[in-house]
C-alpha cells in the first residue's frame, strides 16, 4: 500500500494504521465507540491476508489475543471501558507471559456501564491496571488521527522489543472525530522481529517450552516478578514521551493528554499572543508517565493546571512528578452533552492562576 492521505474517522484511522504496520489478526466484540475499528478491519484485513475475528465476549477476545501472541504473530484488539474491564485478567496474563500485542481503549464515560460519550475515565485502569499483581503495560495517548498513524510503528516496535502489550488510550471525542491523516507506505514492522527464541510454535525446531505465569515453587514467582520489574525499570528510563511547548519561562503550565492536550496547543498560542506566560506539557506515554518533563521546571513557574475528561486521575501522577514544588490545580468533568472542558473554561481557570 502506497503513501496516501485519507479522510477518516479516527477509529478507522486506528484500524488502517495498525493493519498497515503489520497487525494481521484483530479480535474484538462490538462496543461503542470502539466498534468502528472492527467494522473497518472486517473489510480491510482480508486484503492483507488477515482476519477480524468477532468473539463472544471481551474475556474471550483478550484470551484469543493471548493465544495469537503465543505464536509470535502480531494481533490486536479494540474496545471501550466496560470491555476493557473484562480484559484485565488477560492483560495481566499477557504482561506476565511477556506477549506482544496492540490494544485500543476508546474511552467512554464510566463507572459501570457509564455512557457512550467520550471521556478519559480509564487513566487509572490503563496505567495501574485492574488485573492481578505487579505489572505495567506501555500506554500511548495520541491526540489526533495523524498522531495515531505516527505512533503505530513505534507501538509495534515497543511491543516486540519489550515483549509487552501496548495499549492505546484515546478519548472517545478524538476517536469519533473525522480528519485527514497522511499514511506512509505500508510496512510490516512485526516481521522485522525474530520470535523464534520464545514463541510456542511446537518442538520441531526447539526444546520443549511452555508459557507459565504461575509458579511451581515460591522462588519461581519471585524470579518472574524480579525479571518483570527490571524490564519495567528499563522502559521507564528509555521510553517516556511527551510534547512540551513554551515551558521555559512559563508562569502556568497546563498538563493534558489526548483532546485536552491538543486544545492546550491552541490555548498556549492564544495566551502567548496576549503576552501571558503559559506553557504546555502533553504526555504521550501515560505509562511510563513522563516524569522527565517535570524535572526542569522553570523558576518562573507559579502553578500547574491539570485538565482531564474525568474527575482527576492523571492528576495523581502530575502531583508525584511535581513533588510539591508548586501547587497543582485541577479542572475536569466527565459526561454530559459537552463531555470535555472548553477552551474558554481552561482559559478562565488559567487567568485566575496567573
Amino acid at each position: 500500500m502506497k503513501s496516501e492521505t485519507l479522510f477518516l474517522k479516527n477509529t478507522q484511522t486506528f484500524a488502517e494504521a495498525m493493519v498497515r504496520c503489520g497487525v494481521r489478526y484483530h479480535f474484538a466484540y462490538p462496543i461503542t465507540p470502539a466498534t468502528e475499528v472492527m467494522k473497518h478491519t472486517a473489510v480491510i484485513l482480508p486484503e492483507y491476508g488477515g482476519r477480524m475475528v468477532q468473539m463472544e465476549s471481551e474475556l474471550a477476545v483478550a484470551n484469543a489475543l493471548a493465544g495469537c501472541a503465543c505464536t509470535g504473530t502480531l494481533g490486536a484488539t479494540s474496545t471501550s471501558g466496560p470491555g476493557m474491564a473484562l480484559m484485565q485478567e488477560s492483560i495481566s496474563f499477557m504482561a506476565a507471559g511477556e506477549l506482544p500485542c496492540i490494544m485500543l481503549d476508546a474511552m467512554r464515560v464510566g463507572p459501570g456501564d457509564g455512557d457512550i460519550v467520550g471521556a478519559q475515565s480509564n487513566y487509572f485502569q490503563a496505567t495501574r491496571g485492574g488485573g492481578h499483581g505487579d505489572y505495567r503495560v506501555i500506554v500511548l495517548a495520541p491526540a489526533s488521527g495523524q498522531e495515531i498513524v505516527d505512533l503505530m510503528p513505534d507501538a509495534v516496535k515497543l511491543a516486540y522489543t519489550y515483549r509487552t502489550p501496548v495499549l492505546f488510550v484515546i478519548d472517545g471525542v478524538t476517536c469519533t472525530m473525522t480528519e485527514s491523516a497522511i499514511f506512509p507506505e505500508a510496512h510490516d514492522y512485526a516481521a522485522g522481529f525474530d520470535t523464534s527464541s520464545w514463541a510456542y510454535t511446537g518442538t520441531a525446531d526447539h526444546e520443549k517450552r511452555f508459557l507459565l505465569t504461575g509458579s511451581y515453587t515460591h522462588s519461581q514467582g519471585e524470579e518472574m516478578n524480579e525479571r518483570l520489574r527490571a524490564k519495567f525499570e528499563r522502559i521507564k528510563e528509555k521510553e517516556q514521551r511527551w510534547e512540551s511547548i513554551q515551558t521555559e519561562d512559563a508562569e502556568v503550565v497546563l498538563v493534558g493528554f489526548g483532546i485536552h492536550g491538543r486544545m492546550g496547543q491552541d490555548l498556549v498560542a492564544n495566551m502567548r499572543a496576549q503576552g501571558k506566560k503559559v506553557g504546555l506539557i502533553r504526555p504521550i506515554t501515560l505509562w511510563p508517565f513522563p516524569d522527565k518533563a517535570f524535572e526542569q521546571l522553570p523558576e518562573s513557574l507559579k502553578s500547574v493546571l491539570v485538565v482531564e475528561m474525568n474527575h482527576g486521575q492523571m492528576l495523581d501522577d502530575v502531583r508525584l512528578a511535581v513533588n510539591g514544588r508548586v501547587p497543582v490545580h485541577f479542572l475536569g468533568k466527565t459526561g454530559g452533552d459537552m463531555p470535555l472542558c472548553t477552551l474558554a473554561d481552561m482559559t478562565a481557570q488559567i487567568n485566575t492562576l496567573l
Binding site: Y25, F27, M55, E56, A60, G67, C70, S90, G214
Partner: protein, 253 residues
C-alpha cells in the same frame, strides 16, 4: 529410559516425576493423549493449552510446547492460536471446574465456532486441586468440602452434562464422553482421543471428549473404592457414548 522410549516413543517424558496423586485418573488420560500424539506423528506441531487445576500438570509429561492459560480460558486461547497458526494441532486439557464452571462460555462458543481445535475435559466431578469442593459435575446429594450435607440441587443446581449441549452444534464434528474406570472403558477412550485429534488433523471442525475419572483424594476414598464409585455412580448419570462422529476414518465407534 532409552529402552522405554523405544517402546513408548518420544512424546511421553518417562523420566519426569509424577505430580498426580496415587490412583488419579489424570494419569490414564494424560498417557492416552500422549500415545495418540505419538501414533499420529504430530508431536512436533502439537501445542497443549492447559487449564488451571490438576490437569495443568499434564503437559509436563510430554515433549510438546504448552501454554498454561488463565482459569477456564483455554478454548479462547486455543482459538486465537489456531487462527494465527492453522497448521498446528492445538488441544486444551481442562478439568470439569475449568471447563464447565468458569469456562463454560468459552468452551461452548468454541464448539459452536467450529474451528478445528480439540478440547479434552477431564471430569472428576469436583475441584481436585483446591481440595475437593463441589463442581458443576458433582452428583445430587454428594458430600464435598463445600456441600457438607450433600449437593442440594435446589440451591446449587443439577449436575451439568456438557457434551449433550454440543451435540446439536453444527461446528462440533466429534463429541464423545468416555470413562477410564476399567480396562474396557480405557480402550474405548483411547479410540476417542485418536478420533478427536484426527478430526482436527482433517480440519473438519471442533472436537471434544469428556473423560469420567476418579479422584481418590478429592472423594476421600481408597483407590479401588474411588474407581468403583466412578464406575457405578458417575457413569450412571454421565453415560459414556459417542454423540457425534463425522471423522472420515477410524470410524470404529
Amino acid at each position: 529410559m532409552q529402552e522405554l522410549a523405544k517402546i513408548y516413543g518420544d512424546t511421553l517424558l518417562l523420566d519426569k516425576k509424577f505430580n498426580y496423586c496415587p490412583g488419579c485418573g489424570h494419569g490414564v488420560v494424560t498417557r492416552l493423549v500422549a500415545e495418540a500424539i505419538e501414533e499420529l506423528g504430530i508431536r512436533q506441531r502439537t501445542v497443549s493449552v492447559v487449564g488451571i487445576g490438576c490437569g495443568g500438570f499434564s503437559h509436563h509429561y510430554m515433549d510438546i510446547d504448552a501454554i498454561e492459560a488463565m482459569h477456564g480460558r483455554s478454548p479462547a486461547v486455543a482459538i486465537g492460536y489456531k487462527t494465527a497458526s492453522p497448521d498446528k494441532i492445538v488441544y486444551t486439557y481442562q478439568g470439569d471446574g475449568d471447563c464447565s464452571a468458569i469456562g463454560l462460555a468459552e468452551l461452548l462458543h468454541g464448539a459452536n465456532r467450529g474451528l478445528p481445535v480439540t478440547c479434552f475435559m477431564i471430569n472428576n466431578n469436583l475441584f481436585g486441586m483446591t481440595g475437593g469442593q463441589m463442581s458443576p459435575a458433582t452428583l445430587e446429594n454428594q458430600v464435598t468440602a463445600t456441600t457438607p450435607k450433600g449437593r442440594d440441587v435446589h440451591v446449587h443446581g443439577y449436575p451439568l452434562r456438557v457434551p449433550e449441549m454440543m451435540a446439536d452444534m453444527v461446528g462440533a464434528k466429534y463429541v464423545a464422553r468416555e470413562a477410564v474406570c476399567d480396562a474396557k472403558s480405557i480402550r474405548k477412550a483411547a479410540k476417542s482421543v485418536r478420533n478427536a485429534l484426527q478430526c482436527q488433523i482433517q480440519g473438519l471442525g471442533f472436537s471434544f471428549v469428556e473423560f469420567i475419572v476418579p479422584c481418590p483424594t478429592g472423594l476421600k476414598l481408597s483407590v479401588p473404592d474411588a474407581y468403583k464409585w466412578s464406575r457405578e455412580k458417575m457413569v450412571e448419570y454421565f453415560k459414556p457414548q459417542v454423540f457425534k462422529n463425522e471423522v472420515g476414518q477410524n470410524n470404529e465407534n
